[in-house]
Amino acid sequence: MFIVKYIKNIFKGVKSLLVGMRRTGYYFTHHKEIITQQYPDNKETLNLPERFKGEVVLIHDENNEHACTGCTACELACPNATIKIVTKFDITAEGKKKKALDKFVYHLELCTMCNLCIIACPTDAIKMDQTFEHSVFDRKELTKILNKPGSKIRDGVE
Amino acid sequence: MSNQALKEKITQLLTTATFDETGEWLNISIEATNWPAFANQLRHDENLLFDYLFCLTCIDNKTNLTMVYHLTSTKYRHNIVVRANVDSIKPEIETVSHIWKTAEFHEREVYEMFGVNFLNHPNLRLLILPDGWEGKNPLRKDFEDPINMIKL
């Protein structure tokens, strides 16, 4: 019957609309389920996972020593030339010339956080840090020199 | 159909075709001039029914270009790769966009990236490159990007 079908359709339609409205109405009255975070407010409690890839850092210990031998494995592994290793020649105690790290130049603006350099590093000298607030006013500030001034290679790292 | 059966069947269709079975799928090399008729047969032959062209691309071998067509049959589930060499200075090949509709966009992409001229293509215009692009085709080996972001 046409009329019966017509009325049935209307009721079915209205019911489906009411089901949807019940769902939004539920969330309207249940404010505890609100999921949006207040990022600057929760800075203290913000917990990033330890593996989070924020930026590359060179690990320095308390004696201002790092483990980078300047072997350029990370530079070769990097797909977009983010890392530039500048080496120099140190004179060791025996009077021999030895290649050593002069500057670990890191272009954060080019980095895609792909983690390939960390894997490539034979001495585990670099790691990914959890900092994620990288915005600066001048692009030049994103080019960083990772080895701290006066730092030198840890003894025994080849 | 197994690779062997396919080979026999295709030899019947096109005697000049040469085969290469080292890869995952049967590779068939043909002359570019044979392609339109051969494509029609591949699509409509009852035992082949290659109705799905899942990849169409071009390779720049510096001396010549190679058009590569990956075909599969949604009924029999067999795959073949058809390769046709075209000249690198004046590359030309017949379009297959009336047989496999997906070829229309893929051929337009190859046209602008490699400069291959697809004869009888209904709408052979630039798709990805900006209107009025002049100069070499970007995916050719001899293309040098004036800005060159790749090598940095």
Binding site: G25, F28, H31 | -
Partner: protein, 358 residues
């Protein structure tokens, strides 16, 4: 007792005693105008914030919470931003119509404010054909939208305006018919008369099922008439970017925005007046003691409460449903709403003639 009508009455008395009758009338008009404009501003501020909060809570968000405590001053900040923005006029636009359209939209809203009873005996203009006046004036709104769409010299705007024209003209019918059911039941077009006829119960309860049906149809039709989702085809931001106000910026855009919200308020106020008794407290037939308790709540609170409930309902629709397509929109009107409201009107007429309503 403290009430709006007492305050208005004392101001009127004072004016009449101090000035000559002509000046007193002029002063009254100025005061009424200022009152309407400030009501506009306040409504805009409140409704925009309300919409943002309602949408936020339905979408499991917090909503604005930066400006002022819990974000209640957010709309001030928004208005300030829109005020200082440049009001662009596109190069090919018809300048006069382009600039006139938002003003017209606002003027329609102001005109519609006149016959609405905000509280007991508190009305700007007690018009004996109040309901007719409202439905007549509200259809001018479509002209401002068409004007905006055409004058913008933009294809999106034009399409939005054309859609809006088709939409408002058709939905005017069922809105009018569902208003008529109440007019038939109480036998008057005068808004105070309609309200007083609901002193022993609101029409939605007194008028059996037909009144409920016409209430539902009225809500659907006015949602469409005010271009609110799911009937916001004139704007349809995913199809026409912003529809008829694509080219508007700054304060001109803000006027459209304001007009939309004020229109929502007005149609909800009309709905509340017709079906939910306007400022009339919740009365049940012969329960005198219960009715007395209800009378202690001020009439203005009843009015605004009902109106805002309806506004909330319309916002609830907006944040739940997807948008209709233009042909489905017209189908809904011509194949469903209009036949139903006609049969409904017939039923109500029978009920009214036989006196079956309570």
């Amino acid at each position: 007792m403290w009430s709006f009508s007492n305050i208005a009455g004392s101001i009127q008395n004072w004016l009449n005693q101090t000035f000559s009758p002509t000046w007193s009338l002029v002063m009254q008009m100025i005061i009424a105008g200022i009152a309407v404009i400030s009501l506009f501003a306040v409504l805009g501020l409140i409704l925009v914030l309300m919409e943002r909060k309602v949408s936020a809570w339905m979408q499991i968000r917090l909503g604005p919470n930066r400006v002022g405590p819990k974000g209640i001053l957010q709309t001030f900040a928004d208005t300030l931003k829109l005020l200082v923005k440049e009001g662009l006029t596109p190069a090919g636009a018809d300048k006069l119509l382009f600039n006139l359209a938002p003003v017209l939209a606002l003027v329609v809203g102001m005109l519609l404010m006149a016959p609405i009873a905000f509280a007991k005996d508190f009305q700007l203009w007690n018009l004996n054909i109040g309901v007719l006046y409202v439905s007549a004036v509200s259809s001018i709104m479509v002209i401002s939208i068409l004007m905006a769409g055409w004058a913008s010299n933009n294809k999106y705007s034009l399409m939005g305006a054309m859609r809006s024209g088709a939409q408002i003209v058709s939905y005017e019918l069922s809105a009018g018919l569902s208003i008529l059911t109440i007019v038939v039941l109480c036998g008057s077009l005068n808004i105070p008369d309609i309200i007083y006829s609901q002193a022993d119960g609101w029409w939605i309860f007194k008028g059996h099922i037909p009144a409920i049906i016409s209430f539902v149809i009225f809500i659907i039709a006015v949602t469409a008439e005010t271009n609110r989702a799911p009937f916001d085809l004139a704007e349809a931001e995913s199809e026409l970017t912003a529809g008829f106000h694509t080219e508007y910026s700054g304060m001109k855009f803000a006027l459209f925005f304001l007009a939309e919200y004020v229109n929502v308020f007005i149609v909800c106020a009309i709905g509340a007046t017709l079906f939910l008794g306007g400022w009339m407290p919740f009365h049940i037939g012969q329960w005198q003691s219960f009715n007395h308790v209800m009378d202690y709540i001020p009439s203005s609170i009843w009015f605004f409460g009902k109106t805002f409930f309806l506004i909330f309902l319309i916002m609830w629709f907006r944040w739940t449903f997807p948008r209709l397509r233009i042909d489905q929109l017209l189908n809904l009107e011509w194949k469903y709403l209009l036949p139903i409201s006609m049969i409904n009107l017939l039923l109500v007429t029978v009920i009214a003639i036989l006196g079956w309503h309570f």
